[in-house]
């Protein structure tokens, strides 16, 4: 332990011991970070970088070192690939159906429950409960609800219309059906966030607004919304990110069908890499996905997060 010059200057630190001339706290700090950093680098950062590398190659899974470097060819091929564009369209359609509903329904329920209703805890428990189900269970349950011949919906629809539609087998209805199921599954997540955010708005602001003569609507517009802005921003961004990566619902329920109407980007990525063994191509789809999400996040920040 080296004797330190006792007239050191300019640091913000505590009285310190040293190990081989390095501050003990530095050694400790790094040591304590290491376990996570190791896992983090190997299983998150490294793959992220490697993915980009792979996307520039005609990846040979058997002898990766001999993969042919093809530059941006995977990306070029991607942009000329009709299946990719169908998957992209499907994804965007799914996001457009599910995200607004997820956000608005979550917000509506939260504002409703925040009111003086009886049985708040019961309501919260029910709204949130589907969120803890695995997607596999969700799809199993809903396949019984949606089934064309034996489904719950069509049985009752049968009383009012002669030929109820196949919810999962019609090219027009399949994606909305998946989106609706997803809203059922995930709306609780948004709901509890919005509820917490709403409860975090100080009641006194509403009292001030009442004294200022604000109507319920004005109070909502001028107090509630701005106060919940950060949470809304969070929820919108997170839902964009999550729903853009929709996979299991079409994978389990529709295999992307009928006629590709429920194909999505991640499902296509999965098929490209793990069923058609085009790893480089799959990695390229992944990178395109990141780009899209970054752009969406930026747009959201611009639109919702106008200041600070």
């Amino acid at each position: 332990m080296g004797l330190r010059n006792r007239f050191t200057t300019g640091e913000n630190e505590r009285a310190q011991q040293t190990v081989f001339g390095v501050r003990k706290e530095t050694v400790e700090g790094i040591a304590w970070s290491l376990p996570y950093l190791a896992v983090f680098s190997v299983f998150l950062i490294w793959p992220a970088l490697k993915g980009f590398y792979m996307s520039l190659h005609n990846w040979d899974p058997f002898v990766p070192s001999e993969s042919e470097f093809i530059g941006l060819e995977n990306y070029i091929e991607l942009f000329n690939d009709p299946v990719f564009w169908d998957a992209m369209k499907g994804t965007i359609y799914f996001v457009a159906l599910s995200v607004p509903l997820l956000v608005l329904l979550g917000l509506g329920l939260a504002l409703g429950v925040n009111k003086n209703v009886k049985g708040k805890t019961v309501l919260r428990a029910i709204y949130f409960s589907p969120y803890i189900l695995t997607v596999a269970v969700v799809t199993l349950i809903w396949s019984e609800v949606y089934s064309e011949g034996y489904g719950l919906i069509n049985y009752y629809l049968g009383f009012v219309m002669s030929d109820p539609p196949g919810w999962l087998t019609s090219t027009n209805l399949a994606m909305p059906a998946l989106a609706f199921m997803t809203v059922w599954w995930l709306v609780g997540f948004n709901f509890v966030i919005f509820l917490a955010a709403r409860q975090g708005v100080p009641e006194r602001l509403y009292e001030a607004a009442r004294l200022d003569g604000a109507s319920t609507w004005r109070a909502f517009k001028d107090v509630t919304l701005p106060q919940m802005r950060n949470s809304i921003l969070f929820v919108v961004i997170i839902q964009f990110i999550l729903q853009f990566q929709v996979f299991a619902q079409p994978f389990v329920l529709t295999s992307g069908g009928p006629r590709g109407s429920t194909d999505t980007l991640v499902y296509y990525l999965y098929r490209s890499a793990f069923s058609q063994h085009q790893y480089g191509y799959g990695a390229a789809i992944g990178y395109v996905l990141v780009m899209i999400l970054v752009v969406i996040a930026l747009i959201n920040f611009k639109v919702i997060g106008t200041n600070d």
Binding site: P202, R204, L205, E207, A208, A209, R210, L211, D212, G213, A214, R218, D222, V223, P226, Q227, R229
Partner: protein
């Protein structure tokens, strides 16, 4: 017209989960606030101050009784139509609006004023509060004192008949609080409007108000000018609550013309004793109250000299506070000028004047002599 009448007003809350029935937050309170008066409602935490104020504001329903502002019964009138403006303890500024928008918001919504007129009034109020330079900032970037000014300015803009303020200064530090105190008084003087001001700080109440209403457990204990409540506290609660350090209370009984306490005896005049006897039964337990500043260091030979032992001396520059132990159980706080400095752990002799004595009935805490005076007034 900024006259406010509170007539037999009560407020009940549903007892919480334990189902213990109603909580009585305000209990059959009646008093009037004159036009232009600065009335302070003061009392310990939970005494119902905020509830009472919020009923005036219309933020809380009135369970019983009625409240008039000017000549209107306002029980069923919406808050924004009552002609009141309120300043909250934590200001309740809209954090996402600029100071200007905060101040203009209410006017824009409820008055038919043109935008220019609104801006004019906002700027006038801002100037009055000295926050012209802050108008385009967000509240979050202002200091506590500036926020307080904005909150007050927001109330001024609305040009109300009655200002309501609920502990508007309690988030500020001591120096700033003292400063804002005079500022608010100045505004009251300038505007000449009725102010109802809630605080738990008796010093604030005493220094700022025309009259003080002292609340405890939902009941008005006393209402009067600062002088009255200080010098003629109606009961032990008021006596203890007002003044700092608090009045010294000693348990005594009147025997002949002597007040006999645990550790001392105090001779009173025959007239005084007579007045006390008139209002009490024989041998009734009394409480003698004497303020720290009314006690002086006396000659041991004085008639009513009391032996005491100096435990701690606290200098506060201009004054010294003495903490005395009397012979047995009683303790006693004394305030003496800064140049009087007895030795700690020494004995000394103290006394006080008959005129400064306050005498309370032990059973109900009522001030015997104030009561009497009141009686006389009534008969007169």
């Amino acid at each position: 017209m900024g006259r406010v009448s509170i007539e037999n007003v009560s407020k009940f809350y549903d007892g919480s989960s334990d189902g213990e029935g109603k909580i009585v937050a305000v209990d059959d309170v009646s008093f009037d606030i004159k036009d232009g008066e600065f009335l302070t409602i003061v009392g310990p935490s939970g005494s119902g101050k905020s509830t009472l104020l919020r009923m005036v504001a219309g933020l809380e329903d009135i369970s019983e009784g009625q409240i008039r502002i000017g000549d209107r019964v306002v029980n069923n009138i919406q808050p924004q139509d009552r002609g009141v403006a309120m300043v909250f303890q934590n200001y309740a500024l809209y954090p996402h609006m600029t100071v200007r928008d905060n101040m203009a918001y209410g006017l824009k919504l409820t008055s038919g004023l043109s935008n220019d007129e609104v801006q004019k009034r906002v700027e006038d109020a801002a100037e009055m509060m000295g926050i012209e330079g802050q108008l385009d900032k967000k509240p979050g970037s202002l200091s506590g004192g500036q926020q307080q000014r904005v909150a007050t300015g927001r109330a001024i803009v609305r040009d109300p008949e009655v200002f309501l303020m609920d502990e508007p200064l309690s988030n500020l530090d001591a120096k700033l609080r003292a400063h804002m105190r005079t500022e608010i008084q100045r505004i009251h003087e300038d505007l000449g409007t009725t102010f109802i001001y809630v605080t738990h700080d008796q010093e604030e109440a005493m220094t700022m108000s025309d009259r003080v209403a002292i609340l405890d457990q939902g009941n008005v204990q006393q209402i009067g000018t600062p002088d009255e409540v200080y010098n003629e506290p109606k009961n032990l609660f008021v006596a203890d609550f007002v003044g700092s350090p608090a009045m010294n209370p000693f348990d005594v009984e009147l025997e002949g013309t002597t007040l006999v306490g645990a550790d001392f005896q105090y001779e009173i005049s025959e007239e005084y004793a007579e007045r006390v006897r008139e209002r009490t039964s024989d041998g009734e337990s009394l409480v003698l109250g004497i303020r720290p500043e009314d006690i002086y260091i006396a000659d041991p030979s004085d008639r009513n000299a009391i032996e005491a032992f100096l435990d701690v001396l606290e200098p506060v520059g201009s004054d010294n506070y003495l903490y005395l132990d009397m012979a047995g159980i009683d303790e006693c706080r004394v305030r003496v000028p800064g140049d009087v400095k007895p030795e700690e752990n020494d004995s000394l002799t103290i006394s006080f004047d008959e005129d400064d004595i306050h005498l309370f009935r032990k059973s109900d805490g009522r001030n015997i002599l104030a009561e009497k005076r009141e009686k006389q007034e009534v008969t007169a």
